[in-house]
């Protein structure tokens, strides 16, 4: 019987490992290199300075094409965010023109942004964006860092549950921003496409958005594409998951409570069951019950 079982087991293992011919899946892209993120791990928190730098990149580069519709100016002053003061957030808002209305004359009008406004989109609608950008629609960036990922496959996805790897989105975004290279010989790039070694299919519609020294930093941080990519990816992780700091902080408290509470329950259980497991003769005098006899 053991032989039969072994044969069956081998069949299962073979069936699972045989499909190494991974056609469409494997063509997609290289795996993004893992980055160090301040917000990784159980005690991870956002680095406000990095979020401010990332915000600067978004504002000076990305926002030309990408909207950020779910984020309001007030969020810039939220705790666990870029750490702007309310006055600073108000000042940032005032630099944007927001469409409001209709007014008493029934007209839409432009006014400076207020802190309660959401980031105005660069194009009035998706059709306008497509018309201006050669038919391509740049995705909204609000939850982009959670909407992008890549497959690390078996068995990595099992380890990720233990290593708490949730930074696949920012890793991917950073990889895309730094992954523009010349296409390898023989790769036919479709018109309007750029070669990116981390993009699934390699032909990305977005032109290379960042180059070294493009955005000046005032805090001495190196102005390289690699650093820009990391900063803006961190910023986008914050826009996608603005409550991450609070979540991890509460999580630690909940974990401590649960471990202590479950530990107490364990000792209670041990105490209650002691007689059943070790002194079964003591249970003879238990009051009668109503068990239906078979």
């Amino acid at each position: 019987m053991n032989r039969l079982r072994n044969i069956l087991l081998v069949c299962v293992v073979a069936a699972l490992s045989a499909p190494t011919v991974r056609t469409a899946w494997a063509q997609e892209a290289d795996a993004p290199p893992l980055q160090r993120w301040s917000f990784a791990g159980p005690f991870g928190v956002y680095d406000p300075a990095q979020l401010q730098r990332g915000f600067k990149i978004y504002r000076e580069v990305c926002s030309t094409c990408h909207s950020l519709k779910l984020v309001a100016f007030r969020n810039l002053a939220d705790s666990g965010g870029p750490g702007f003061t309310e006055a600073q957030a108000t000042a940032v808002a005032a630099e944007f023109q927001v469409t409001d209305g209709p007014n008493d004359q029934g007209q839409m009008f432009q006014r400076p942004g207020k802190i309660s406004d959401y980031f105005p989109p660069p194009f009035p609608n998706d059709q306008a964006a497509r018309a201006a950008l050669g038919g391509k629609l740049p995705p909204d960036m609000s939850v982009l860092a959670k909407a992008r990922s890549y497959e690390r496959g078996f068995p990595w996805f099992i380890f990720e549950a233990f290593t708490e790897y949730q930074e696949d989105g920012p890793d991917y975004i950073h990889a895309i921003l730094t992954g523009y290279t010349d296409p390898p010989a023989g790769f036919s790039l479709p018109p309007g496409g750029q070669y990116n070694k981390y993009f699934p299919g390699h032909a990305i519609g977005m032109p290379k958005p960042l180059s070294d020294g493009q955005v000046p930093y005032t805090d001495g941080t190196p102005t390289t594409v690699d650093q820009y990519g990391r900063d803006v990816a961190a910023f986008l992780m914050w826009t996608a998951e603005p409550k991450l700091d609070a979540r991890k902080r509460l999580g630690f408290q909940v974990m401590i409570f649960l471990i202590v509470f479950t530990g107490l329950l364990y000792f209670t259980k041990k105490r209650v069951w002691h007689a059943v497991l070790h002194h079964p003769e003591l249970l003879e005098s238990r009051p009668p019950t109503e068990y239906p006899r078979s």
């Binding site: 909407a147 979540r247 003879e284 009051p287 109503e290």
Partner: protein
């Protein structure tokens, strides 16, 4: 819930109430004095865990419903509003979304335990069938819940799954149109899914009452599969089962909290953070992990109608386990052959789960076909035949005997009880 209760109301009020509505004695006989086999292991705590999870899902779900907007133009953003602007909205949503996964973790453990220890056998057939109905209700409820955030996976999962009904001959397309409330998955679909997603948990709660009622009629099975015969074979539900269940709910919650607080999006698919777009099909449409084995069975079969039949059959067949399994011995502990085939069955289901997550091409399809074949061969051929040909190990005469045969732990002063004869 049957027979007399030993509950004696003490206070005048409780005596007054007892004569009018004997609810206190019902609770007493069901959850305090109710005898449970003394040899239950921790696999028996998943029933309590499932009840706990149903409560968690209903409470978080009701609050989420206060903030959610079931409209194709607003659903995605209303979920994001919950995540951003509702106080602890992120917590509610992550507890609810991961709660669905952990609900299924618990139900799969519960089902596996029932299969291993033969808990479906006479006289527990109705109890088992109610359990399969509960599982089906959970599958439907979970699926509809996954559609509500109206992301890409929500939309395309709804499209793919509702389209399965188009495989039904003659009426297929009419049924699909009827399910959608239109000619494509759209606002009417989202609205009815929302309505049903709110309704079904209460249907589940109702069937849970029946499930527990049936359980209390026949009593719990136990690792030996031998019915309790004397008082010594059982202990009172409270405090023994209560404290054991509570301890394991605590352990379960630690793992659950790990996911909620540290890897809340691990079990989800990143595409569901892209708003639904009927004009753009995702590269791979993948259901939630808990449906993957059944999804693999569906795709393993080249014909659409047969695939749907296999999918439905893979769950419905489970309801017939009491009759497919012909052995009179319940517990796999005493069935050496059954045990091996069953573990292989569990491995096959896990394997199907992996294959369901992979693209349906090349070796994956071949592997899925082999495993699907085993799934059905096991249920329809191996299981009935095993009962006829298998030589089982000798059963203990009673639960107490099996407990004492395993030995009184060292240092315990208990002599073998005089009445251990059965």
């Amino acid at each position: 819930m049957s027979g007399h209760s030993i509950y004696k109301p003490q206070s005048p009020f409780m005596q007054w109430l007892e004569r009018r509505l004997p609810i206190a004695s019902l609770v007493h006989s069901s959850f305090i004095a109710y005898p449970t086999p003394r040899n239950l292991n921790y696999w028996w705590t998943f029933g309590g865990i499932l009840t706990f999870m149903l409560g968690v899902q209903i409470i978080t779900g009701v609050v989420l419903a206060m903030h959610y907007t079931p409209h194709v133009d607003h659903a995605f953003n209303s979920v994001e509003t919950i995540m951003r602007d509702v106080d602890y909205g992120w917590l509610l949503r992550y507890v609810h979304a991961n709660g669905a996964s952990f609900f299924f973790v618990a139900v799969y453990a519960h089902i596996a335990r029932g299969m291993y220890y033969g808990s479906y056998k006479d006289p527990r057939e109705v109890l088992w069938i109610l359990g399969v109905i509960l599982f089906l209700l959970m599958v439907v409820t979970g699926f509809m819940g996954y559609v509500l955030p109206w992301g890409q996976m929500s939309f395309w999962a709804a499209t793919v799954i509702t389209n399965l009904f188009s495989a039904i001959p003659i009426f297929g397309n009419s049924i699909v149109t009827w399910l959608w409330g239109g000619f494509a998955v759209g606002n009417p679909t989202l609205n009815r899914f929302y309505s049903l997603h709110y309704l079904l948990p209460f249907v589940i709660a109702g069937v849970v009452v029946l499930h527990i009622w049936a359980l209390h009629m026949v009593g719990q099975n136990n690792p030996t599969g031998v019915e309790p015969k004397t008082e010594k074979d059982t202990v009172a539900f409270t405090p023994y089962a209560t404290v054991k269940d509570a301890f394991f709910v605590g352990l379960f919650c630690i793992v659950y909290a790990w996911f909620v607080f540290y890897i809340p999006n691990y079990l989800g698919h990143s595409d569901n953070y892209i708003p639904a777009n009927p004009g753009q099909t995702p590269t791979h449409i993948v259901p939630e992990w808990y449906y993957l084995p059944f999804y693999a069975i569906l795709r393993a079969i080249p014909d659409k109608l047969l695939g749907v039949i296999a999918l439905a059959g893979s769950i419905i067949l489970l309801a017939f386990l009491p009759w497919l399994d012909t052995s009179r011995v319940r517990s796999a502990n005493y069935r050496p052959l059954y045990r091996q085939f069953l573990f292989l069955f569990f491995l096959v289901v896990i394997g199907l789960g992996y294959l369901g997550s992979q693209p349906p091409e090349g070796g994956y399809v071949i592997a899925a076909r082999i495993l699907t074949l085993y799934y059905f061969v096991y249920l329809l051929i191996i299981l009935p035949l095993l009962g006829l040909f298998e030589t089982t190990k000798p059963l203990p005469n009673s639960i107490s005997e099996s407990v004492l045969r395993e030995g009184v732990p060292a240092g315990a002063s208990a002599p073998p009880p005089a009445g251990a004869k059965s």
